[in-house]
């Protein structure tokens, strides 16, 4: 995990645009071509050079002549984002490009980057109309949202077991409850991280702290339990805070911005978490419960993939076949590190040899590489 990750949110912003894309695009020609729509933004106006343009590749060339920083959006009539550009400073120019099919759109300027913006209706002309999103993808998003919520709901009681043990000063019971309390979070980490203010409170490691930031959350308690081997008043109060912070996650998780592509890339990000933090043993450096997190990350990635699979396997059957194979291979490899396939008691990571770490790393790469192609398969 990292201190702040907003990848799901930023992914969401561009994801909608992709639904309008039609395969590989031709990189556009020079600025100022006749396709370009010039937008002159001020603090009170949003003027467009033309209201009609041919469907296909469009460039929205924005000049901010106002005093405030602005942002410009190209929107579908239902407010879904086709393309956007934030942080356009006073006196600067930016170009936003998109592939659009024929239909009505809106261009919105947001001086000060707030509110619904100053809007202009524009029209892309030509044959065809904007493709509707595949309803199966909407189902996938809805199901994933439920999954994320369920994970949060099921996590809170497990966190309570952990924090109650900490508060009771029961070192052994706390150690035992530590890894299980993290599973739901690990399964939905990209969604959890999208609320940038919760992650740094609950899942930051000591080396990830910013100047002046107080170290709170799971890993602070992990260090107390395994390294310092004692529970004091400070730890007890941190246990309470962990519950408070995770309740906020539980309340917010249903509001996360989730799209088919953010799901797909979120799945890949879970493997990135494994590749950078778990495979190296950095994540759980005191408790060595990395393989539990590892498994949680893989399960979360697999859930997102399974939900997207009906569409992905139609658009790119070879990719789906490869993903099935690599998920199975990685899961089989992980099973070697637990005695019972239903159990989440894995071998302590300090007992995993360098050769085994390399084998795990190779298996993660083998899955993560095709998984990085899932987003494209979903929007094809």
């Amino acid at each position: 995990m990292r201190a702040v990750r907003l990848s799901v949110v930023t992914a969401a912003a561009t994801a909608a645009a992709l639904t309008a894309l039609t395969g590989c695009t031709e990189k556009s020609t020079a600025e100022g071509s006749d396709r370009a729509i010039r937008v002159t933004a001020t603090d009170s106006k949003c003027e467009v050079s033309k209201k009609e343009f041919p469907a296909g590749h469009v460039e929205v060339a924005v000049e901010n002549k106002g005093a405030k920083v602005t942002e410009v959006y190209l929107l579908f009539p239902d407010d879904r984002i086709v393309a956007e550009r934030e942080n356009i400073g006073p006196g600067t120019k930016q170009t936003v490009t998109a592939e659009v099919k024929a239909g009505d759109y809106q261009i919105a300027c947001k001086p000060g980057m707030t509110g619904k913006g100053i809007r202009q209706t524009v029209k892309a002309t030509g044959g065809g109309s904007v493709a509707k999103r595949d309803p199966r993808l909407d189902q996938a998003v809805a199901a994933y949202r439920e999954y994320a919520q369920a994970q949060a709901d099921e996590t809170l009681p497990k966190v309570k077991v952990f924090t109650d043990a900490v508060k009771a000063g029961d070192l052994e019971a706390a150690k035992k409850a530590y890894a299980p309390s993290r599973l739901g979070w690990e399964r939905t980490e990209p969604v959890a991280e999208s609320f940038g203010d919760i992650d740094p409170k609950v899942d930051v490691r000591e080396d990830g702290l910013e100047d002046g930031q107080k170290w709170t959350g799971w890993h602070r308690l992990e260090k107390a339990l395994w390294q310092d081997k004692k529970i004091g008043a400070e730890e007890k109060s941190l246990a309470d805070q962990l519950v408070t912070d995770l309740k906020e996650w539980q309340e917010k998780v249903g509001t996360a911005e989730i799209t088919p592509t953010s799901m797909a890339n979120g799945a890949k990000e879970l493997l990135d978490e494994v590749a950078t933090g778990k495979v190296t043993g950095e994540e759980e450096r005191y408790s060595h419960t990395d393989l539990v997190d590892f498994k949680g990350n893989v399960e979360g990635a697999q859930k997102a993939y399974e939900l997207l699979k009906p569409v992905a396997s139609k658009n790119d059957p070879a990719l789906a076949e490869e993903l099935d194979k690599q998920f199975a291979a990685l899961n089989a490899l992980l099973d070697k590190y637990r005695s019972d396939k239903a159990s989440y008691e894995f071998v302590s990571y300090d007992k995993v040899t360098e050769n085994q770490q390399k084998e795990l790393s190779d298996a993660v790469n083998a899955l993560a590489e095709p998984l990085s192609k899932l987003a494209a398969a979903v929007v094809k």
Binding site: T14, C24, T25, D362, A366
Partner: protein, 416 residues
């Protein structure tokens, strides 16, 4: 999408031009053009353009073709047991190698595709010239335990014996296959290995790799033999890419040498040789020169005036490197060398982690590297200052003939 980036000449833009570069590569492989008198290792036309070396030919480029300045060498383990999947990866690799050696981005390129998906090409070589990139594949002994290939393992692809003084690190030794990427621009070589590794994920995984700089021998013998990190010229008499007779005799596997699939190929020995540069640097000039059997300034053999003067071996100390390594001391044994210096920073004791990444090609290691190294390992005065820490051996199959051919076809195609 397009590769054209702004107004600077792009890698693809040069392709149209590189008729000259392609012709050169083919000619060197075929031995029709003498590049030996160019004055250095680089053909002037190709160097100016950072041109492309022809990928196709009877032999793989990267063996007898002119040695470039930089190296990224990678050894891979095979992770799949599905032969068809492995063959498909070799075909995918060949297609990518064909494009990269021509200076083109692979697949759909590095930009312009779906914003939410990673590009096919990683992009760090965009705008760079082809830089004479060559990619050379090899198959290690352990590969033949897989895919039912045991009866195709050449007898010459032996397991190297342990030589006295070897201190081999498992994590720098062996491999089911290798790719040698040589280029004049390090970024071009690294880009090539990185992208092949990426295409290979799930099928193969990198076991170890080595970056090299400052070629320590050339295949276009010239006025300036490169120096190694000990400051000495070595391998003055290396086989030139134009010496058809010596290549045929010592480098290329001939008809009847072994399994048919290797005809036109070669065998590659790779050794990571650590140099104890700090102790070497405290060694007197006299001893340094005695150890090599050459003078430091000219590179001339003991008692001679010029580097290329015929050495008088008996004038050298019995344990001098040149004396022991010379063909005359080894029943005429000659190997083609493409070694590179390396330094991977410093070790935990602050010593330069540096040395020679030795790459040698020969028709049969049992008649080439093995007897030679036996002699050197037992007697070479240089051993006090070096240690072999990594080792691998690969069968280098013949060249990819044309655009329909692929790396390893002679070994792995169903017809083969």
């Amino acid at each position: 999408m397009t590769d054209i980036q702004g107004s600077s000449p792009s890698r693809r833009a040069l392709i149209g031009w590189t008729g000259a570069g392609l012709a050169l590569g083919a000619a060197v492989a075929g031995g029709a053009v003498a590049a030996a008198n160019a004055g250095n290792d680089v053909d002037p036309a190709a160097a100016e353009a950072g041109g492309a070396v022809e990928f196709h030919g009877a032999h793989q480029a990267g063996v007898a073709t002119p040695v470039q300045d930089r190296l990224h060498f990678a050894a891979f383990d095979v992770k799949t047991d599905d032969r068809a999947e492995f063959v498909q990866m070799l075909k995918d690799w060949t297609a990518a190698a064909r494009r990269m050696t021509a200076g083109q981005a692979i697949g759909e390129g590095a930009y312009g595709g779906l914003a939410e998906a990673p590009p096919d090409d990683t992009g760090e070589a965009l705008g760079l010239k082809p830089s004479r990139l060559t990619l050379t594949i090899g198959f290690g002994p352990s590969l033949f335990d897989k895919f039912g290939l045991r009866d195709k393992r050449p007898e010459a692809l032996v397991d190297l014996p342990k030589f006295p003084g070897d201190n081999l690190d498992r994590s720098r030794t062996g491999g089911d296959l290798c790719v040698q990427a040589c280029a004049d621009d390090p970024q071009v070589a690294v880009h090539a290995i990185r992208n092949l590794a990426r295409i290979g994920f799930g099928k193969v995984a990198i076991r170890w790799s080595q970056l090299g700089f400052g070629k320590t021998s050339s295949t276009t013998p010239d006025a300036q033999t490169p120096r190694n990190l000990f400051g000495f010229k070595d391998g003055t008499r290396n086989i030139a890419g134009t010496e058809e007779d010596r290549l045929k005799k010592f480098v290329w596997v001939g008809d009847g040498d072994g399994p048919e699939w290797m005809t036109g190929g070669s065998y590659l020995v790779a050794r990571r040789i650590r140099m104890n540069v700090e102790t070497w640097d405290r060694t007197s000039l006299q001893e340094q020169e005695d150890v090599f059997g050459r003078d430091k300034r000219e590179g001339a053999p003991v008692g001679r005036a010029k580097e290329h003067d015929e050495p008088f071996l008996k004038a050298m100390k019995p344990d001098a490197h040149v004396r022991l390594a010379h063909p005359d001391s080894n029943d005429g044994i000659t190997i083609l060398r493409r070694g590179y210096s390396f330094t991977d920073g410093t070790d935990g004791l602050g010593r330069l982690d540096a040395g020679l990444f030795f790459l040698a090609y020969q028709r049969d290691v049992r008649k080439g590297f093995i007897p030679l190294q036996r002699r050197l390992a037992a007697h070479d005065a240089l051993n006090e200052y070096i240690q072999h820490v990594g080792s691998a051996l690969f069968a280098i199959p013949p060249g990819v003939r044309d655009s329909g051919d692929w790396w390893g076809r002679t070994l792995l195609s169903e017809e083969a």
